[in-house]
Homo-oligomer: 149 residues x 2
């Protein structure tokens, strides 16, 4: 029960832009113009994809070390199709979020094919962000009133 | 099938740090020292939480407009407990990712309690990132060899 808790807190700056603090770091999230923003920063789902890429990078190196594989170079990209109709309140049979997600991993390594297959399977199984995207996670949302001057 | 595709691409800089491009924007992701990084940027799961906060901000304003609610001020924080044992390859019965997620929304608005309840329920239902965290999403991972000089 005493597991580390990760947290961020944000303040809305416009209907599409929010400034988020994560420990001592600050992140800005916005939307492109066609999604109602001013295009000053990556958008929310790009942040999620970036977190997935970042997580796979970390786990890829941990698993490689465990398997005795040398990784000389690693490139990771992530993508997915998303129908914004539900977001905008339009009638749709599609879900609100990504219908599916794809990760492309390019690795420079001498490991053979079978070892690379074992490697990527373990990366997927040990990656926290993969787990939260692939599996269900219970969420709670609390609302309180904020009184400002 | 012709839904917008969102994508990002990253290049590993260290075993914990990756530099990600999202359209014209660049994001850096790292880990704190106790998770094997150099603490130069927020970590992957903080990026996911930030994306959730950013998404809720966007949807909160869209739903408020649809319901005729004025939002004068909005603060959003997100958090969750995560046991890193599976990430590090240690024996554990816990999942790799967040066991649960909590979002705290503080709003300055004249809307009554019932309207705010309707508002937040619709925000949750229309938010793409909430959907991808709460529900399952199929993922595919492709590996290819990268040959570098």
């Amino acid at each position: 029960m005493a597991h580390p808790v990760f947290s961020v807190s944000g303040r809305s700056e416009t209907p599409a832009r929010v400034r988020v603090k994560a420990r001592g770091f600050e992140l800005v999230i916005d939307e492109p113009a066609d999604l109602g923003g001013e295009d000053t920063a990556p958008n929310p789902v790009e942040y999620v994809l970036a977190g997935w890429v970042g997580c796979v990078n970390v786990v890829a190196h941990l698993v490689a070390r465990d398997l005795g594989i040398e990784i000389r170079n690693l490139e990771i990209s992530a993508q997915g199709p998303l129908n914004p109709d539900r977001l905008f309140g339009k009638p749709t049979g599609d879900r609100a979020g990504f219908r599916e997600l794809q990760l492309d991993v390019s690795v420079d390594s001498d490991a053979d094919e079978e070892t690379l297959r074992t490697w990527i399977d373990q990366v997927e199984a040990r990656c926290p962000v993969s787990d939260n995207l692939v599996q269900q996670t219970p969420t709670r949302i609390h609302v309180r009133r904020l009184t400002t001057a």
